[in-house]
């Protein structure tokens, strides 16, 4: 076993770098879903569509900037603008018009409504951006590549992949932890998450908190899409691909657990990249193998808490 690690240490090093970037992207999408479930208790199937629309919006804004001859670094501004716009416009619209009507209803109704929303948003994407792949990679090209030594060879990685994506994920994780534990609004959100009834009885405007949280979650999904957009080709269906993996992360982490989402994303990201090198046939199932393994031992998820049933 030790020999195997020695023989493959260089490849494992590469897999670690790939896995970190992969995990960062997974975390960015899953954390919004997790936050929304924690507060609203709604499994939002349309979360993947917010990721996709964030990605499309970032590409469109980036192309708009490029067409007007603005400097390439403005591509990063485009990423942030897209996330803010989705969080500030689409998030409140969805929460006010749809989700507010189904809080506390049967799970199946919530699933049906958010699935219907997912289908509508998928068609909206096709109407607005068409079906041909859309690409805008200015933020990726702006930072260029970094050569990582690999024996006598070098392996070029994009600086965007090595530094920007993991950096944003770490900042998001630390920022969210600080926000939820150190600010008044954050503590109010935690209070609503823990016991909405008691929080309301103490004068907290739960409706405002749910609106705020959903918009924030939508913004995080859009930011995940915006961050991913320079590295991928945007086509119909990317939202559906994203949401499946996000659900696996959320289920493994424990619903509503931010740090759990980060650790799970890391496990899945590393697991997938190691599989690509040493057992590519298993790459697709690694997230689900990890999920099954965790849930067998801890059915409430890695960081989940066993709740007593209210009668």
């Amino acid at each position: 076993m030790a020999d195997w690690f020695t023989d493959n240490s260089l490849l494992l090093g590469l897999a670690l770098l790939d896995g970190l970037a992969n995990a960062a992207l997974i975390f960015m999408v899953a954390v919004g879903l997790n936050l929304v479930f924690g507060v609203l208790r709604i499994v939002n199937v349309a979360h993947g569509s917010l990721f996709a629309i964030g990605a499309y919006a970032a590409a469109s804004i980036g192309m708009f900037f490029a067409a007007r001859g603005l400097p390439p670094w403005m591509g990063y501004v485009a990423l942030v603008l897209a996330a803010v716009a989705i969080g500030a416009v689409l998030g409140p619209l969805i929460e006010r018009l749809l989700l507010r009507r189904i809080y506390g209803h049967e799970d199946v109704l919530q699933l049906l409504v958010t699935f219907a929303l997912f289908m509508i948003l998928e068609d909206v994407q096709k109407l607005v951006w068409g079906v041909q792949p859309v690409s805008q990679d200015a933020p990726l090209k702006f930072l260029g590549t970094v050569d990582i030594p690999f024996g006598e060879d070098v392996i070029p990685f994009t600086a965007y992949q090595l530094f920007v994506i993991p950096g944003v994920a770490v900042v998001t994780l630390l920022g969210l932890a600080w926000f939820l534990r150190r600010t008044l609004t954050g503590r109010v959100i935690v209070a609503v998450t823990t016991d909405k009834e008691a929080a309301t009885a103490m004068g907290i405007d739960a409706a405002r908190i749910t609106l705020l949280t959903f918009s924030f979650g939508a913004g995080l999904a859009a930011l995940g899409g915006a961050l991913a957009s320079p590295t991928l080709a945007l086509v119909p269906g990317i939202g559906a691909q994203t949401i499946v993996l996000s659900f696996a992360v959320v289920a493994t982490a424990g619903l509503g657990q931010i740090e759990g989402a980060a650790l799970t994303a890391l496990l899945i990201g590393l697991g997938r990249s190691i599989a690509v090198y040493f057992a590519p046939e298993f790459e697709v199932v690694v997230p689900y193998l990890i999920m099954v393994a965790v849930l067998l031992v801890r059915p409430q998820g890695l960081f989940g808490v066993i709740e007593t049933r209210r009668v």
């Binding site: 260089l10 490849l11 590469l14 897999a15 770098l17 790939d18 896995g19 970037a21 992969n22 992207l25 998928e122 068609d123 096709k126 068409g130 079906v131 041909q132 792949p133 859309v134 690409s135 990679d137 990726l140 090209k141 590549t145 690999f150 060879d153 392996i155 070029p156 990685f157 994009t158 992949q161 991913a228 590295t231 991928l232 080709a233 945007l234 086509v235 119909p236 269906g237 990317i238 559906a240 691909q241 994203t242 997938r272 990249s273 690509v276 090198y277 590519p280 046939e281 790459e283 697709v284």
Partner: protein, 438 residues
């Protein structure tokens, strides 16, 4: 009681008479020319494969509009009825029956997905409805059974994989290592099996350093690209398409993978306009046929130009290969009806007569002629070339193109593709034609 029986008998008699008249009427109508020719078309209108399906639908609308302006087919206006094949084969099977039984379509164009075609062809047998397989590529359709009402109006997987392999063996005969990265579904796996079967006999000893089949619709290939950079294969094969291929090639370009290995991309033509200058020069590219928009010597240059210009004018895009495949299906339909009507002395053909007209049919495309073999498979030439840039196109187009005659690269009737490929010998390489001028 007697009165009641009499009334019932009278009503039954009236009903039977009316029914028989109606039946006779509809039978008579079926012999005559219909008021419109309804064509059911299954294609991807949603999901990731809509990058192929929607342009093909647009091509159908454009071409049927032209057909109708010119008087229709056999004097009958054509009405296409589109069905989305994205919900899956179970849904599609139901839609196929609905198109035949409720919509009364005279023929069906099916489909992009090989799985869809495998589901539809048995239905064409059962319902005796002519079915034109307009885009799917699986070799299994006509190698695993006979389908008297099914016809494929373009090439299929075997020639579409063998031609790029032959091009590689001609262009870069000294390669020693190869990696494959295909989508994880039937086409990705089948095309690799076809390639490997042929490569092992035409150039034995090539070492496969990586076999990767990422999830269909994967949004990130950075790990796969790292592995390919580390493995440094001489050649990288990918039969991927759509957004998957664009993402893979963009990440490969950004990390200089194009500088280390020669890519062979048999299905990349639809992705080239999106890739623009991101695609590197000097790699082997294919288009599932011979219908490159920059074909150096098309059979009917004016017709090719007219189609490309009309499509660009209407949709602001270049037509990609599914558009050409749709055009081929429509050309074949026109030719088959003309043949069937002539054979019937001007009468309108029934289902069996239409199917008989398709068998052995030769029809013209803008770039060549395609003949439908006795098993229903179309013989379409394959053109493969090297990616390059010129002043005319803002994206890569092929140069040093080799036209592989369909008969050379297609599995003979009655044989299985993998068995046939395994029976080839290195002498087969002597048959590779010289590049075409232009």
């Amino acid at each position: 009681m007697t009165d009641a029986v009499t009334r019932r008998a009278a009503m039954l008699g009236a009903g039977a008479t009316a029914g028989s008249l109606l039946f006779a009427g509809s039978g008579a109508k079926a012999q005559g020319k219909p008021s419109e020719l309804r064509v059911g078309i299954t294609t991807f209108l949603s999901g990731s494969a809509s990058v192929f399906g929607v342009p093909a639908k647009q091509a159908a609308e454009l071409l049927f509009e032209e057909v109708n302006k010119a008087g229709g087919i056999g004097g009958v206006p054509v009405r296409p009825i589109f069905v989305d094949e994205a919900p899956g084969t179970d849904h599609l099977v139901g839609e196929f029956r609905r198109l035949v039984q409720n919509e009364g379509v005279q023929l069906i164009f099916a489909s992009i997905s090989s799985g869809s075609c495998l589901a539809c062809t048995p239905l064409s047998d059962e319902m005796k409805k002519t079915t034109v397989l307009w885009d799917c590529g699986t070799q299994r359709i006509f190698e695993e059974g006979q389908h008297p009402y099914a016809f494929r109006t373009q090439g299929y997987g075997t020639p579409e994989v063998l031609a790029p392999l032959l091009y590689l063996l001609k262009h870069k005969p000294d390669f020693r290592t190869l990696a494959v990265i295909n989508q994880d579904y039937a086409w990705g796996r089948d095309s690799w099996e076809l390639w490997k079967s042929a490569m092992d006999v035409l150039k034995p000893g090539v070492r496969v350093v990586a076999e990767m089949f990422p999830r269909f619709g994967a949004t990130d290939y950075s790990t796969e690209v790292t592995r390919l950079l580390a493995a440094r294969p001489d050649v990288i094969l990918s039969t991927s398409w759509g957004g998957d291929l664009v993402t893979l090639l963009r990440q490969a370009a950004e990390r200089r993978l194009f500088d280390r290995s020669t890519f062979v991309l048999p299905v990349c033509e639809p992705s080239l306009p999106t890739l623009g200058r991101t695609m590197a020069a000097g790699h082997i590219i294919g288009t599932r046929g011979d219908h490159w928009n920059n074909h150096p010597s098309p059979k009917d240059p004016a017709r090719l130009k007219r189609f490309v210009d009309a499509y660009r004018a209407k949709y602001n895009d270049y037509p990609i290969y599914p558009c050409h495949h749709m055009a081929q299906a429509i050309s074949a339909t026109q030719a088959a009806y003309a043949k069937a009507i002539a054979a019937k002395g001007g009468g309108w053909p029934n289902d069996a007569e239409l199917a008989a007209a398709f068998r052995g049919l030769t029809f013209d495309t803008p770039t060549s002629s395609i003949t439908l073999r006795e098993d229903g498979q179309g013989l379409e030439d394959q053109i493969v070339g090297i990616s390059s840039f010129n002043a005319q196109y803002p994206f890569a187009v092929p140069k040093d193109m080799i036209l592989f005659p369909a008969a050379m690269v297609s599995t003979p009737v009655g044989r299985k593709s993998v068995d046939w490929l395994k029976s080839l010998t290195p002498d087969f390489l002597n048959q590779i034609p010289a590049p075409i001028a232009g």
